[in-house]
Symmetry: C3
Subunit: 424 residues, 3 copies
């Protein structure tokens, strides 16, 4: 995953445009089934309108001697997203109206956009800003803002059931790694793994979209079907650094996605940070909006807005590591595996069964085998057809993935029966 | 309010009699719509009977030299409420059987009554009691206890709906200020304010009654109608000192009145004291009795029974202050305003609306404007037609009164729709 | 009770056999109505089969000089329960394969059984084990394992209603006192007391069974009737030492038995230990199994598995004391009394009644009388026909047994009405 991230890092993504298309094409090479869709500028999507397409070719600030002081080609964060084209000579004072820097992080280039009001600007380190001397500067932005398309990628992996698991990630951020290349690369890896599952119970709908306008557009085209079929899902973002895990709930916080996310994180990283709906900030704002109400939660590592490198040039591929990405992948995969394998279990005998007869007691009594037997007996004691395996895992405080083998053993021995639905 | 309290302070109120009528007439001058009602002694009210009317004209203790040692005319707490008439010469020992003082508060005259068993007595400071020397004392109580009436005041302010908000306070305490002139004066001020509201949604029923027997009599006459129409209400008592606020719940603690009271106090005085139903002691005992079950809670400042000056001559107009009364008034008014303005809100667009287009983003970005935008977005995210504005205020931890302007703005912009009822 | 325990202590009990029958006959002398039942070996009971009957006559280890080193006749814990007969000469190394001791408790003989896999063995103190020198040993177990019966005792005390309170205890442990002679002797004492009640509301079903197989056999024969009629019950075990009380819930933890157990223990021993269903280990494993779902909780003193003397020769009649047994008896009797006397109460008057008139106010005002009046008023305030007396005791935080006299007084004064069922 880290090498995919390296390949994708230099591309200048935005809401629309070439960078998005290049990114989607790269992912399509990894998952040929990915469909790349386009929606024309000006299309209405609920309260929003698809904006013009933005093309950025070059942008720089020269001093009067013609020396390039700030160069988009060196770092695409230098240009304010959706800047209008300009070619001007300005005094330092005039120029400063259009410069953005972070006095508290003097070596970081900030990430700034102006999608919905016409504007232009440059971002640079505060060190660089302070080195500028009075004089005249030549500012050039070779950009274009005109009707085009908004692109997104959609992958549908059918399962035994029409009910869907929905995964969404965004591909509109330029050269930043945790927020947001980690989401697309982890989602790509999850897609590849899901393709290998030959017996998927659920259908998987996976989208790579620009944030906010992309999810709004996608919802406006699919909302009725999604409301009917989606039983769980995750907004995949900020899953690449090595710091602690975090969780952000769906609006009501009690969907299957929430239960699963909390279960995985509790057993993966007991110190994970639990945010609330009031801390939201990504596409769950749309997916969980009133009237939309999809069951979408977020499993993250360092959450957007909560780590020092957020939305700066410091959010790079040193912050995001192979192990960080792997951890994000593992947690999301576990969450999906739980949803796939979460059945209702019913004991076939009244009272405890005699395990000894059936060789279900370990012959060698070790600490681990004792733990296994306790887990088995505790599990059995809750198999009343009303509790799902996830419910039971919570009740007996064991990780779900520690119980599936036990459940299989008991099913093989005819002591348990699988029910797809809760017993009435 | 404090000057009203000063005017009313010297009047010798009791369950019945002249003092109650003078008090009600004073209030009637301030609110001409107040109806003064009378119920004859001997009237049955549930398990109770309206007692005889008590008239007290004079009461004193003279020493053998004719010096007035204790004089009702100097402080009406000196006489035990409902004392029978006497004119006796007694030894100090005999007299002491009828004297009440507080050894722990030697400079305070206690407040004592004997409404329902025939008796007489005087209350005095412990200092005065200890200064009495052996000898003969002349005790005179010029009182009368005979059939008459029990009086109360009733004010009904009709609203758009027949559903009622019920406010009750009591006018049976002699010269004490927090318990209880604060209740009547704050209730009078609230009545005047409510009269000025031309678009009241609810009907207001406001009663000024003697405690216990008064609420029982009032309930016995109106219970069926009240049970049908009252949706919220407050017992208004002890709302005049400057100390912390306190809350006493209705019996079940989960009525609209309770939710509103808790919301107001949490945002007014985060350190407010939360009492339980087991700490009750005023007319909620009747209003929330089994089978009566009205939704009545109490918002108070220092609660009866819980402050050192309680039921003594020290509960005076230095303890109760203009700012103390204003604070009590403000909290109750806020509570009423919440009930009046608590609508269900439903977003008119799916997904987040585009606020920028509509000028709903502040042009100047300050800390306060950021807070406003967050509150607006958080509020919108809960406007699903299932949450009332009070529910939303609780969910996003903002004071209700901070959200009404935002709600109005969003309604004006057609982004929100008011529903009078929860969406099914 | 302690003297019964002394009589029963030396008997060598096991799942089946003579010791169980002797024990049941001893109890039958104390409660002649006890029915002793037998179920043949080989009988199927759900997933189990009634095992062969085990007869143990003698067992010892001699050294080569014929000196008895370990002698079953001195302590019946020396023999592993259900040992097969043997008569062998072994080396020390061979012998040690069959010896059990506790290195951490060198002066304790452990309790070991091998009910369901053929085996034999001896238990001895670790001190004794370490004193054994290399050489040849003569091992004799004069035992028999052949078809016979499993015995249990059943006592049914009919009440006014067919609904049942179910008490279960076990009589399969050899010479150990807290676990488990305390259960049978306390249950015997409770049975004698219940017989004296001439106006039992509920029917009582009391069983003395071997643990696990006994409860499974009993359930297999009675499950439908029990599921229909049992409204509460307790598994009576470990109720004889002087240490703190403890509670183990039914599977769902919210049955009447649970509420009652928690109420009794809270007011008996506020520091009682609250275990969870995951700590279970006795017959509640069967009674509360999925599909069985009887409302059975446990009120214990030191819980099985949780005290150092557990399952060793140190669990003796010094650990179990007369006061320990009395405490266990008292707690269970209180629990039963609550269930018997738990009625729904409804006030007959609206608003508070006038207690003074009826002499319900104490004439002498003491701290205790004040507490009584407060309890009376608090109780009355919850008598809405929806709350049972137990609910009210919880709401006003008074022990149930402190409220029954008050309730009776109020019923006599026609202020309260008893309802057998919750008012709709």
């Amino acid at each position: 995953m880290h090498s995919w991230a390296k390949d994708l890092f230099p591309i200048c993504r935005s809401l629309t445009g070439l960078g998005v298309r290049e990114t989607l094409q790269y992912i399509q090479c990894l998952i040929p089934e990915l469909k790349i869709c386009s929606v024309p500028s000006g299309t209405q999507a609920f309260d929003w309108i698809v904006p013009n397409e933005w093309t950025i070719r070059d942008a720089f600030i020269d001093d009067s001697a013609g020396t390039k002081l700030v160069d988009f080609k060196k770092n695409n964060l230098h240009i304010v997203g959706y800047s209008e084209p300009v070619d001007l000579w300005l005094t330092l004072e005039e120029l400063k109206q259009h410069l953005h820097s972070l006095p508290d992080q003097p070596d970081a280039i900030p990430y700034v956009t102006s999608y919905y009001s016409k504007n232009w600007g440059f971002c640079l380190t505060h060190e660089k800003l302070q080195s500028l001397v009075p004089g005249r500067y030549h500012v050039v932005i070779d950009a274009e803002l005109k009707p085009g398309v908004l692109n997104y990628g959609e992958l549908i992996l059918p399962g035994e059931l029409d009910q869907e698991i929905f995964l969404s990630t965004y591909i509109c951020h330029p050269s930043m790694a945790n927020n947001e290349l980690s989401g697309p690369v982890v989602t790509t890896a999850l897609s590849q793994w899901l393709k290998t599952l030959t017996d998927r119970k659920y259908t998987y709908r996976i989208v790579f979209i620009p944030e906010t306008i992309g999810s709004i557009v996608y919802l406006s085209q699919n909302i009725e079907y999604l409301k009917e079929q989606v039983i769980a899902g995750f907004n995949i973002t900020c899953v690449g650094d090595d710091r602690c895990f975090s969780y952000l709930p769906s609006r009501n916080g009690n969907t299957l996605s929430d239960l699963v996310a909390l279960h995985v994180l509790k057993h993966t990283d007991p110190d994970f940070i639990r945010y609330t709906w009031l801390d939201r900030g990504s596409d769950e704002r749309q997916y969980c909006a009133p009237g939309v109400d999809l069951p979408i939660a977020s499993i993250m590592r360092s959450k957007y807005g909560e780590y020092p490198e957020y939305h700066t040039s410091l959010d790079d591929l040193e912050l995001v590591t192979p192990t960080g990405l792997q951890g994000g992948y593992d947690a999301l995969r576990k969450a999906i595996e739980i949803i796939e394998n979460n059945v209702y279990l019913k004991s076939t005998v009244l009272c405890e069964p005699q395990l000894g007869n059936r060789g279900l007691y370990p012959t060698l009594s070790t600490k681990e085998s004792g733990r296994q037997v306790r887990a088995m007996m505790n599990m059995l004691s809750y198999c009343d057809g009303q509790n799902s395996l996830l419910d039971i895992a919570e009740l007996i405080d064991e990780p779900f993935w520690g119980l599936t083998t036990i459940a299989d053993q008991l099913i093989e021995n005819d002591l348990l029966q699988k029910l797809e639905k809760k017993r009435e």
